[in-house]
């Protein structure tokens, strides 16, 4: 056992210069998702948005009910799989392997899709993807499209871009439909209308669905039937569909959409033209790899052994389904995430939303507080990386680091460690010394030098005089202590520290 060397260990750290690397070793100038398009940035910081959301009792009740239901279901179906942990580790490894050769896999995917009659497009960012899709829809002459729920198209604001071009996009997933009809925003990756209860959904349907039965009750089955009726005719007349993809298999060119309602099958089967927008990270190298993810995803997302429908298609099949297929491969900041050796694990996400459902922060604030289409723990690590951490600087702090997300993640993304990493990226990106940074530096000096530390402890101990002999400190203290004392008592510091008392007892100076 050797002792640690007595030398300077960089107590004085100067902030990085403007434009310096967002990550010390991997500055590569890779562009993040552009501003002014899409839905990755909120108008308010997380604490501000949360403050409003936390006062909404209906929201809290809806979220509490929904997340506790899904947590129970997930726990049951995960519990019955004896090799869950092995599947999880396999899933993680497949994704790590995918990222390590992402360029090669994408080129192979392109080759296979093209060979089977599909057309592959590449989009550097949201604007380019929106322009490609708009152009493709316009080329068909259609002025409306049906859409399968897709995070990627939400992310890039495709519906707004289509609307600007005079094209109406009909969301067909029930929850997306509720959000669209309610002129609302999605608040959950899997169930975008999780913040709405049955009574609110009934209200939305009654007010916005043409020809809806005025006797519509709030029974979920009746509401689902109303949606079926509303969309049926749209499916049958649709000429163009737009989807996302849950998986793409590089070696075969196969795309997969995992869903429940059959709206996905309608979109993927009936129209003449299918346009799929997919983030470049969503692929897996081999057909066999799906055996892992088709076990992990349904159990983690809806808490089912298998979701009702999974559609897989490769290019175009004569006589069956769309005869024109376009695949749009989207970067929009993903390569910037890939450049960060710690943060890139966020690209492993398969969008199951298990982390949202177990998150004690998400359960109370809901998804809108995160300001991005990607809420919850995964959103708190993904959104700031896609936009650059300074554009979503409050999100990495929107977690108590309790670790429930890591345990629930089917591909074992260490979300708490990435959160901590991004906090450091934010701190290190500051050009000026913030009061917080100054305080932490002073404290670091003290905590790395026993003599200074004991002095600091003695000064802290003087705080007990503010308590005037009471066991707790006064509630009215200046910031940042007020952040604590507004809602909790703070114990008055003791007369002597433990190490002082111990040293006295054992007859020496400490």
């Amino acid at each position: 056992m050797t002792t640690a060397p007595e030398r300077d260990l960089r107590t004085d750290v100067t902030p990085l210069a403007p434009g310096a690397p967002r990550s010390g070793t991997t500055f590569l100038g890779l562009p993040t998702a552009p501003r002014g398009v899409g839905h990755l940035r909120g108008d308010q910081s997380f604490p501000e948005a949360a403050r409003t959301a936390l006062r909404d009792g209906q929201l809290r009740a809806n979220l509490g009910h929904a997340t506790s239901t899904i947590r129970r279901k997930r726990a049951n179906v995960v519990g019955e799989v004896p090799d869950w942990e092995q599947l999880r580790q396999a899933g993680k490894a497949v994704k790590t392997a995918t990222m390590a050769r992402l360029d090669e896999h994408l080129v192979e995917l392109e080759r296979q899709v093209t060979a089977r009659g599909g057309v592959v497009h590449w989009a550097r960012d949201a604007d380019e993807a929106n322009a490609i899709v708009t152009r493709l829809v316009q080329a068909t002459g259609a002025d409306e499209v049906v859409k399968v729920k897709s995070m990627a198209t939400q992310e890039i604001g495709l519906n707004e871009a289509l609307e600007d071009a005079g094209i109406t996009a009909h969301e067909t997933d029930l929850a997306e439909l509720i959000v669209q009809l309610g002129d609302d925003k999605p608040s959950h990756i899997l169930v975008p209308a999780i913040h709405k209860n049955r009574a609110e959904i009934r209200e939305i349907f009654l007010r916005t669905m043409q020809g809806v039965d005025p006797e519509l009750t709030d029974e979920p089955r009746r509401l689902a039937m109303a949606a079926r009726k509303h969309l049926r005719e749209r499916f049958l007349r649709a000429r163009v569909a737009i989807s996302g993809a849950n998986f793409a298999v590089a070696e075969t060119g196969t795309l997969a959409v995992v869903e429940s309602e059959g709206n996905g099958r309608m979109c993927l089967t009936l129209p003449q033209t299918l346009i799929t927008v997919m983030g470049i990270e969503k692929l897996v190298p081999t057909w066999r790899d799906l055996e892992v993810f088709l076990q992990l995803l349904p159990r983690s997302s809806t808490g089912e052994r298998m979701n009702p429908y999974t559609s897989m298609w490769t290019g175009v099949t004569p006589g069956d389904g769309p005869q024109e297929f376009h695949l749009v491969l989207l970067d929009n900041g993903r390569t910037a995430v890939l450049a960060d050796e710690v943060g890139r694990e966020a690209l492993h996400c398969i969008r199951c939303s298990a982390c949202l459902n177990v998150c004690p922060v998400y359960e109370r604030t809901g998804g809108h507080a995160y300001g991005s289409v990607y809420p919850g723990p995964i959103g708190a690590v993904l959104s700031p990386q896609l936009t650059g951490v300074e554009d979503n600087a409050s999100l990495p702090y929107a977690s108590s680091l309790c670790g429930a997300c890591y345990d629930a993640c089917p591909v074992a993304i260490d979300i708490p460690s990435i959160l901590v990493h991004l906090r450091a990226e934010h701190v290190e990106a500051q050009e000026k010394v913030t009061p917080e940074a100054a305080a932490f530096r002073v404290l670091a000096k003290a905590m790395s030098n026993p003599r200074l530390w004991h002095l600091t402890q003695r000064v802290a101990g003087l705080g007990r005089f503010l308590a005037r002999g009471k066991p707790t400190m006064p509630a009215a203290l200046p910031p940042p202590v007020s952040g604590w004392t507004r809602s909790r008592d703070l114990p008055a510091p003791p007369k002597q520290t433990f190490t002082q008392a111990w040293a006295r007892e054992h007859g020496g100076r400490r």
């Binding site: 991997t26 497009h121 429940s260 059959g262 089967t269 298998m306 559609s311 897989m312 099949t317």
Partner: protein, 208 residues
């Protein structure tokens, strides 16, 4: 377009740098299910019923009458054979007399049928999943989608234990649909409701 392609690929290469570790995939999860075939059939039935599908079991000689009984279950007695559309590869012995064979008419016209009869490619016991592969027995995708009642005939030899046993039996180039119960949604308060856009009724005839 080439510009974007080359730029995105270039960004990936920049992001990854030179160090590209070879990652070994640990595949120590269950590759096979060693339970006896009869047990797997029972598991399949249990899983299908759990997701509100109806299951009728029969021997190889009784498929025709059992399909008729399945249609009784799905449509109620008195259904018209002509309103049942059948995948082209379904054996004559399974079909109700007078059923309509899919003739490749425009997909949207299939919505007029009240039920569909198909076979399947593979069934997965543990998840209660039927895989349709677009071949003559399964039919094209639209026929198992638009009519409101779907009857699938599953033969015992088509049943495997888990997902890893199913994928090698499938052609990735085929249009595949994995069906696990009738269509459903959990979008309202995470409460599962069966029957949305896809067939609201799924009846499985399990042979053997």
């Amino acid at each position: 377009m080439t510009g974007a392609r080359e730029e995105v690929l270039g960004r990936i290469r920049t992001a990854l740098g030179e160090r590209r570790p070879d990652v070994a995939i640990p595949r120590d999860y269950r590759a096979t299910d060693d339970r006896p075939a009869a047990t797997l059939l029972d598991v399949l039935v249990d899983r299908l019923e759990d997701y509100k599908a109806s299951v009728l079991r029969c021997g190889p000689d009784e498929v025709g009458p059992t399909v008729a009984a399945a249609l009784d279950t799905g449509l109620g007695a008195g259904w018209e054979a002509a309103s049942v559309v059948v995948a082209p590869g379904v054996p004559a012995g399974w079909r109700p007399d007078g059923a309509t064979e899919d003739d490749g008419r425009p997909a949207v016209e299939l919505a007029a049928f009240s039920a569909t009869l198909t076979g399947i490619a593979v069934a997965i016991a543990e998840t209660g999943t039927l895989v349709l592969d677009g071949g003559p027995l399964s039919g094209r995708r639209a026929i198992s989608l638009l009519p409101d009642c779907l009857v699938c005939v599953v033969e015992a030899a088509q049943v495997v234990g888990g997902v890893p046993e199913a994928l090698p039996r499938l052609d990735p180039n085929a249009p595949l649909t994995m069906v696990s119960g009738p269509s459903a949604t959990s979008d309202i308060e995470l409460q599962r409701v069966e029957g949305v856009h896809g067939p609201r009724t799924l009846v499985v005839v399990l042979v053997g």
